[in-house]
Amino acid sequence: MKDNVIEINNLNLWYGEKQALTDVSFPIRKNKISALIGPSGCGKSTLLRSINRMNDLIAKCKIEGQIMYHEQNIYDPNVDVNSLRKKIGMIFQKPNPFPMSIRDNITYGPKIHGITDEKELEKIVERSLVQAALWDEVGDRLNQSALALSGGQQQRLCIARALSVSPEIILMDEPTSALDPLATSKIEDLACELEKEYTVVIVTHNMQQASRISDYTGFMYIGKMIEFGDTESIFNRPTENLTERYITGRFG
């Protein structure tokens, strides 16, 4: 379907003997925010990491099934993982800026991908920081160490860094769990802003966050996608009893 930027079909994933994902299928809609919710250990971060092949870095990780992106299975042997990760960026739970200046954090990726023209790099720095709603705060001190920024600013810098290589999809793994409510609100506003140009997939433990910002929500439990649908339906009248019990806090 043309509205789907990614289609995940019957994905199974094992860490050694342990199966972490079982027969997961769902679409990721273009220019929308999709949220993955579920209890700890349900496989939502594993699923997120499968979308840009971060699990390749884990030994004894075995994957079956398909993740279709631009009509190609990203797990085909001929897929270039580096250019895949350029198109599908990732933001982690804890902000992880490189221990270098704000500017260098942003130019790092574009330089690796072969951009050397200084003017072009300056443009990328400004555009990325503007898009990450950080330009007004740091535009006049780009040579300062990124580590001097607050946690919320560091996280937005990481988003700017992901944007610097012009991705199509941004994966966010609990991006606000280490942030205070104000910084969280800025990241949420940012995600809603990014949706216009990018596709966002966010893993969150905070159900209000999922209901506040996402267009689609998937509920996962023990490695399975129990229910996936538009966010309003999931939070108003889920069809699965398990989903109902989880979102109303009556689990286990």
Binding site: M207, Q208, S211, F235, N236, R237, P238, T243, E244, I247, T248, G249, R250
Partner: protein, 215 residues
């Protein structure tokens, strides 16, 4: 979770109490009127105080639950439904109180015409309130499918009573006070039916998650 569930249970119990009180009020006010029983009318009228009390108590508790617990799915639908239906129940209580007052006035006025229509309307409206309160309590909407017809019946009856009383006023102008009371009472009962329909819509939403309209 237990604290939340305790508060939800109290909220639901209070709403059921309010619903049952509204059922009793409409039933007894019409009974007081048709039997000329002023004692029952007084007693019914007094019950409105508790309805008003429950209205504000439940509203405060429901808003508190929304603020503190941000309920989701069925919990959210229950709280949203309660916030709406207490307004309708309060109105039913108020109309019943007005009927009870009319009963007191009419008990001293010699009956000028047969008022068969009023008890029939009262019975139908009482059944509507009772069924919808039961549907809320049991989360079972199987008895709510014919509310549109039941509402139309009350509308027809009200028009009939209006016509009868107009004729009466023309033929016997001294009966005008009593007739105006009868016309008002029929209007109150018809409104009770309307409010029952609104409650039925909300309870259907609570149970199914789907919005319906009963007209």
């Amino acid at each position: 979770m237990k604290k939340f569930e305790d508060e939800m249970n109290t909220l639901i119990e209070d709403t059921v109490e309010m619903g049952k009180l509204a059922s009793i009020m409409i039933e007894n006010s019409v009974k007081a009127l048709s039997e000329g029983n002023t004692e029952l009318a007084e007693d019914t009228s007094k019950k409105y105080t508790r309805i008003a009390q429950l209205d504000s108590l439940i509203e405060n508790d429901a808003l508190r639950i929304l603020m503190l617990y941000q309920p989701m799915a069925l919990d959210m639908r229950v709280v949203a439904t309660i916030l709406k239906i207490i307004t309708y129940l309060e109105r039913i209580g108020k109309y019943s109180k007005n009927i009870a007052k009319a009963a007191i006035f009419l008990s001293t006025t010699p009956s000028v015409y047969s008022m068969d229509g009023i008890p029939t309307m009262g019975e139908a409206a009482t059944k509507m309130v009772k069924d919808v309160v039961l549907a809320f309590e049991n989360r079972d909407i199987s008895k709510l499918h014919d509310y549109s017809e039941r509402d139309s019946f009350l509308d027809r009856m009200r028009k009939e009573i209006l016509r009868e009383n107009m004729v009466q006023i023309h033929e016997n102008p001294s009966s005008v006070d009593a007739c105006i009371y009868y016309i008002s009472v029929s209007r109150y009962i018809e409104r009770v039916g309307d409010h029952s329909c609104k409650i039925a819509e909300k309870v259907t939403y609570m149970v199914t998650g789907k919005h319906v309209e009963i007209d």
